[in-house]
Symmetry: C2
Subunit: 430 residues, 2 copies
């Protein structure tokens, strides 16, 4: 295909993008700006149905795989041409925000649509086909681990195991998929590249007055689901020395983890975001406390040291509270780097729009981190006002949505015009 | 009434007692010996219905007051004779045991029945009438505070306020009463004496090889429902220094309370049995942690000192975790003494059965502590195997049930024969 027929620019439609963001926010959105769209909930099912309708109306072929990942494929090249996948997730945290994830799916729809319109107008042909992805359970709020759909997709997690994960009410992923009609049967191949636009979730871009970032490095994470096992007893007569208080053991670990993070300065994040206490009655010594522990670092060495220290803290808590313990699960995600070719492509497209691409670390998980193990992948970022994420006041301006989506569309147009070899070339240059 | 017509002894029927204990254990009982009969639950409703049927078949007149306390009155004297009330509660902790509370209601039925049979045989007349009581929400597991029904009965708690207490699902006491048909309208007067048989819930009797105890002193309690208020944020990117972690603040207080109890040796019990974490998602810094805190002591001075120290711990946790806080409720129950007249009567009846009555402290709450504010009251105790309470393995042998019920029946017969002046006489003797 001669270069002279390639369109040199693509323009996304900010009003259309904004209308789509508003449309999808209806499902699980609260009057206060909050979003509660737990994965595979009725609200998630409604949002997926809305997206399926959008795919159909716009000529995208919908596919749903057995873990419920929802795809919309648009062929602009021959059927066996390389595939560029673009997406994110539309599930949310409980009482979270509207932009984490949803922006990535909606901007993928808009950017691919804009590329098609541009190619149609110019008569140009694409070197690749495009797929929008909406991954199941990115958040890990209802089911653990997070990144479940993308991990099954890449083969990092076993399908049967994933379908058997259960929420706090004992409902499995498989049952939840059936209940909203998203237990699919389609097979979708690994793409040749994966791109994801996301809100930054931190305040680096805002503080530096920048509009755009590329996550070049991702932090690793070690996540423990840890149960302390005590013994139920009356909080009245039971002598203090005869108590085996599982919640007390949990409290020792929580305070230890905070102190541990302090020792490593900015290089280690620790948290216990969820704790389940049983039987959780005011007058009964808790017999079980399940802690959902996270350690995160950009350095594998620090992560390993932190895990050793966590284990020592658990042993100490077991001894002090005189309880037992069980490690119920461990998830480890190694720290790593995003595709240099895609980073360079992001810089090229961003520069062309008059804004440099700031290199960022991503500390939170993204489906692109799952995909990075099997194909060139990247997460692009637009500013979060105040750095807020996982909160109803999470906000990114419509102008920044449009800017990020424009850069994304420009990246896709370059891939359509020049083919995926541009990623290899750029990689060698670095 | 000439003393010569008074029967000198009463014999309870251990087999009948045991059959009743087994019958009531069906409602909420698990195969593992556990009992989950939360107050005003369907299971509690079924157990109440069973008791109402028992009242009807045995000639007791059922009354239900507006807070759902269930009474069965048996007149053995003239209508305006003094009233002796005997009872306890049939609600339980979640996954608790079968004897805490239930024994007190069932033994009251059996003991009063045995006294009537004895009087019928001998042709003797009673100096008093009897009422069985089954108090609403003694446990405080589903609704707080505990001792709710008896506190409303004595006037210590306001009825409208009590009806508006809500469980973790937002259901009010009033709604729960309606749903099981126990929103009563009867007025039941304060009795002239109140007796309650209970399992010890500690291992003093067992360790000393004794069969029977009388609680002569009750510990006081200070209970706080305390909320720490943080801010939701992503546990990944949010810098540690920018976090406002409500659960972390809770953990500081829990570990402080354990250390505080250690300073006071055996004289102070502290606990956090329940904690509600919001939004309780693994990837989100908790914005709210509600702690159900208890301080208990036999000494008012120690209780006051412990409360001062608790407040200091809360202030320190607020500062360290950079969160806000709200005290949602405070319940205070003063330490005190049971009726000396009833203690002496218990000793007399116990001695007559060949077992001394061991003087005990009760640290847990009992409805008799509510009643102690308005009439002579006592809690009698039979041994708990291993001192276990609020656990499925809670156990008191059938022989000890029968022994305790026999002593109770003997006390009731003395009151029937000699009248309630015996309590005043005994009091002066001491």
């Amino acid at each position: 295909m001669p270069e002279t027929t390639s369109p040199s620019s693509v323009r996304i439609d900010p009003a259309r993008l904004q209308a789509m963001m508003e449309a999808v926010s209806v499902f699980g959105g609260g009057a206060d700006g909050s979003m509660t769209r737990l994965t595979l909930s009725p609200e998630d099912g409604q949002a997926r149905d809305w997206l399926a309708t959008w795919f159909r109306k716009n000529g995208f072929a919908e596919k749903v795989d057995p873990i419920g990942n929802q795809f919309g494929r648009l062929d602009l090249a021959s059927a066996n041409a390389p595939v560029v996948m673009v997406g994110s997730h539309i599930d949310s945290q409980p009482n979270g925000g509207r932009f984490d994830g949803a922006l990535g799916v909606i901007s993928a729809c808009e950017a691919i649509l804009a590329v098609r319109e541009t190619l149609e107008k110019s008569g140009g042909r694409s070197a690749c086909n495009f797929v929008v992805a909406n991954w199941t359970n990115e958040e890990g709020a209802r089911f653990q681990p997070s990144l479940l759909g993308s991990s099954v997709f890449t083969g990092a997690a076993d399908l049967a195991w994933a379908l058997d994960r259960r929420d706090g009410a004992g409902i499995s992923v498989g049952e939840a998929l059936e209940s909203i009609g998203y237990a699919g049967t389609d097979t979708v191949p690994i793409p040749d590249a994966y791109l994801e636009l996301h809100i930054e979730g931190d305040s680096v871009l805002e503080r530096e007055g920048l509009r755009f970032g590329a996550f070049t490095r991702f932090w690793g994470a070690v996540k423990y689901r840890l149960a302390f096992l005590g013994r139920q007893a009356h909080t009245g007569p039971t002598p203090m020395a005869a108590r085996h208080d599982a919640l007390l053991a949990g409290a020792y670990v929580i305070t230890d983890l905070k102190a541990l993070a302090g020792e490593f300065g900015l290089d280690l994040h620790t948290s216990v975001g969820r704790m389940e206490v049983y039987p959780n009655s005011p007058n009964t010594v808790p017999s079980e406390a399940v802690l959902f522990i996270e350690l995160r670092s950009g350095s594998q060495a620090i992560l390993a040291e932190a895990e050793t220290r966590l284990l020592a803290s658990i042993e100490a808590a077991v001894a002090r509270a005189e309880v037992g313990h069980e490690v119920r699960s461990i998830d480890r995600r190694a720290a790593g780097r995003m595709s240099p070719g895609l980073v360079h492509l992001a810089e090229r497209a961003s520069d062309a729009n008059g804004a440099p691409a700031r290199s960022l670390d991503t500390i939170g998980g993204h489906d692109a981190i799952s995909l990075a193990a099997v194909c060139p992948s990247i997460v692009l970022a637009v500013p979060s006002v105040g750095g807020v994420i996982h909160h109803p006041t999470e906000f990114t301006t419509p102008e920044d949505h449009a800017f990020g989506t424009q850069v994304l569309a420009d990246m896709l147009l370059i891939l359509a015009n020049e083919g995926l070899s541009v990623l290899e070339v750029e990689k060698e240059r670095r």
